[in-house]
């Protein structure tokens, strides 16, 4: 996997080098892409048509990384609060942390140290805790499925495995 990450990073770096001398074109393209994607309704409402002033859209995998970290923290907190659930929850926390590490490698960003991401408040009732975690996994799985459909080829397998992993967590918490 180290190789895969290195290749992906290299590809990005090459793309950036190749387009450095046409940065303005790149920015314009970015603006047009944003126009065609999520920003379309906003842009339509913008009376000044300032597409070029729009901030560069974040990498689509960034929300997946943040979500993995938040899920890992939520499972760790739940395992601490309910020690009898720890054997079930800890491997899932570790899986989310492993997803975050892989995604950080692909994105070329540093992974925040474990514990830096605050989890949500854990319910005192174990059943409510499990129900809350399952709901978060369901949302996370659906997000990863959507991200996989849109991912470039080099990222599709990783994002697909993350979607599948989240689905198996849902099953494991039944």
């Amino acid at each position: 996997m180290v190789l895969t990450c290195a290749v992906v990073r290299g590809t990005n770096a090459q793309r950036i080098d190749a387009s450095r001398h046409s940065r303005r074109n790149l920015l314009r393209t970015g603006g047009l892409l944003a126009l065609g994607a999520a920003a379309a309704p906003l842009t339509a409402c913008d009376p000044f048509g300032r597409e070029e002033a729009a901030p560069r859209p974040p990498d689509p995998l960034r929300p997946l990384l943040d979500e993995s970290l938040a899920l890992a923290a939520a499972y760790r907190d739940a395992a601490t609060a309910h020690t009898d659930l720890a054997a079930r929850l800890t491997p899932i926390a570790e899986a989310h942390q492993a997803h975050a590490a892989e995604l950080a490698g692909v994105l070329g960003v540093d992974l925040p140290s474990a514990g830096a991401t605050p989890g949500s408040s854990t319910a005192t009732d174990p059943d409510a805790t499990i129900a809350d975690l399952r709901q978060r996994e369901r949302v996370g799985r659906d997000g990863a499925v959507t991200a996989c459909a849109a991912a470039p080829a080099a990222r599709a397998a990783l994002v697909g495995s993350i979607a599948a992993a989240r689905a198996t967590h849902l099953e494991a918490l039944k």
Binding site: M1, A87, R88, P91, I92, E94, A95, A98, H99, E102, R141, V145, C148, A149, A153, A154, A156, A157, L158, G160, S161, I162, A163, A164, A165, A167, T168, H169, E171, A172
Partner: protein
Amino acid sequence: MSERSAPPTPAEALAAALNAEYAAIFAYGPIGVRLSGSARTDARQAEAAHRRRRDALVVQLSTAGATVPPDRAGYTLPFPITDRASALRLAIEVEERTAAHWRAALAATSGSDRDQALDALVDYAVRATRWRRTAKITPLTVPFPGRST
């Protein structure tokens, strides 16, 4: 399992998935014999899922004018099935292996073909988790379903 240097074409990736489905269907024969009750029902349902995907792939590859790999008379099982425990172990392995082939198809495909591949990867990963629960193997999950390492 070594990664290929040249990425497979969509048809090659789907043909590889079809071969995995043939082998999975074959394996569920001896698996089902060693199981009873709800586990046998689960095995029948799992086998039916592999048959559905096999049939869909045959139609899909034929329609696209691609080569449809033939089913073989038999497939080598990774270990002998002698009892319930080994049958459950093989069921887990069958789901993991087919999941791996569909995972490999993700990078080679896009649009509805990729949706189809992801659906299979998710389905088989969940089935592997169910089999681990039946076999009382923990943890019930792996961090990266379908990845060989």
